[in-house]
Symmetry: C2
DNA sequence: ATCTAACGTATCATTATATGATATGTGCGA
DNA sequence: TCGCACATATCATATAATGATACGTTAGAT
């Protein structure tokens, strides 16, 4: 079928099973065999067997009446295992909790994952859209403060490549799609170590981020804070949020 | 090998791949091929191929120097997909946020998963042990308030069976292992709709839970709050926390 | 510095195992 | 009532997973 990427030490059936898992996302929350086949591009029979296997193994719940498959609690258990494996989360968590209590606003631990930022930990303090209140969401790194502040730590060449090549997606009508503008913002972030972006993922949302550097000095994550533009103006953000954010990022 | 559970619509390779994934937990955060083979009981070569496949597919990160495998960010993405598929989480989240802000203490959304309670959403407000601050952790339902309050909604027979048969594990030296005592607590919870437990998972931790009923009247989840016994006595818990908890649970 | 053991990596023939076409069963809307 | 779309079950065939084996590499001990 799909040209085996590598032979003999690549188990195609397993890879196909993973495609079933990945078919589920924020739009596809429960799927029938038929639509599962459409999404994955796999054969009808294959999907039947794969999905059944995943069901028997407890990875997929199956509604006995609608016959629709859904992610099971096992998916959360995997996340739990992930959390223990990521040393950054363990180190950051207590400090993020303190931070969120101090400033009373939503704070996140944002990690770089390829060209995306993925929110590893989220401590929501204010009601917001669902997507912004659960961990695991990923968005193009260039678009948001957390990503910019990380890219800003890259060596010159790599930084330019990232700005030029990395994925960009208009999430709101005001998402910045102009790479030159993004380059400026990243340049500024390189100087200051922080970044502030507006209306990138949600309208009237302000994102503030400070970088966390790995042992090699390269940014690998960021402490991120998301507030409403209605309640916070630039000046207050800089005096009442930024300092604490920086402290937290440095402490991690 | 392991007698095929069902034939012809069960893909053994996929099942084995899942065993690799599940080998990772809070104790095994990064694993070599050899230990992976030991844990899963799979053949050396099988593990090699399976792990490589998972790596190529982006489900496992591989440290290029130590050759150790670790869960990848994909595990968080799966969790994200799970969150969208669980209607309870979406409905509960904004209310949980309000609740956590109001009482200033850690609140959780606890769901029943087999004989366990799994924390689907956690909003930590105070520093605590790592296990209590990330979602996905699961603990025996009978041991904790959230589980008791759910079991309490079961019909007589089922309730007794659960109390008699369900898993129990001594997590702290003071975890209640006496099923008769648990039966009493569940009986009380059946009357009041809430439960309070002490020292079950962490010492000096008090757990307070109110049940959330499904459309059939059967409890399927609970709003749970965890506070320190040092800071809260029974009276204050009942007057300053319980009412809000109940409101929140009812509203969901 | 040398040896050895443990582990990761690579190769290969063999057949068990996954495959996908087909057939049967079931529920829903016209 | 009919017919369609989907889930479920069966089966012969050859593909694709298997596990034994052999090679490389690293690290610890002597």
């Amino acid at each position: 079928m799909t040209k085996p990427k590598q032979n003999t030490l690549f188990v195609a059936s397993l890879a196909k099973g993973l495609r079933i898992l990945r078919a589920f996302d924020h739009t596809n929350t429960e799927l029938s065999l038929a639509t599962l086949a459409k999404i994955t591009g796999l054969d009808k029979s294959a999907v039947q067997r794969l999905a059944n296997t995943l069901h028997v193994e407890g990875m997929l719940d199956k509604d006995p009446v609608t016959r629709l498959y859904r992610p099971s609690h096992a998916w959360l258990r995997l996340a739990y295992a992930y959390y223990w494996s990521d040393p950054l989360v363990a180190r950051a968590m207590p400090k993020l909790i303190d931070l969120s209590q101090r400033i009373g606003e939503t704070v996140n631990l944002a990690e770089l994952s390829g060209q995306d930022i993925i929110y590893a930990a989220r401590l929501p303090c204010k009601r917001t859209i669902f997507a912004a209140s659960v961990p695991g969401r990923s968005v193009p790194a260039l678009s948001i403060s957390a990503g910019q502040v990380i890219v800003a730590t890259f060596p010159q060449q790599e930084r330019e490549d990232a700005i030029h090549d990395w994925r960009l997606r208009a999430q709101t009508p005001r998402t910045t799609m102009d790479r030159a503008k993004i380059a400026d913002q990243i340049e500024a972030a390189a100087q200051t170590g922080y970044a502030i972006t507006y209306d990138q993922m949600i309208l009237d949302e302000v994102g503030i981020a400070c970088v966390i550097r790995g042992p090699d000095g390269r940014g690998c994550a960021a402490v991120h804070c998301s507030v409403s533009a209605h309640h916070w103006d630039d000046a207050r953000i800089r005096t009442e949020i930024l300092p604490w954010l920086q402290d937290t990022a440095n402490a991690i």
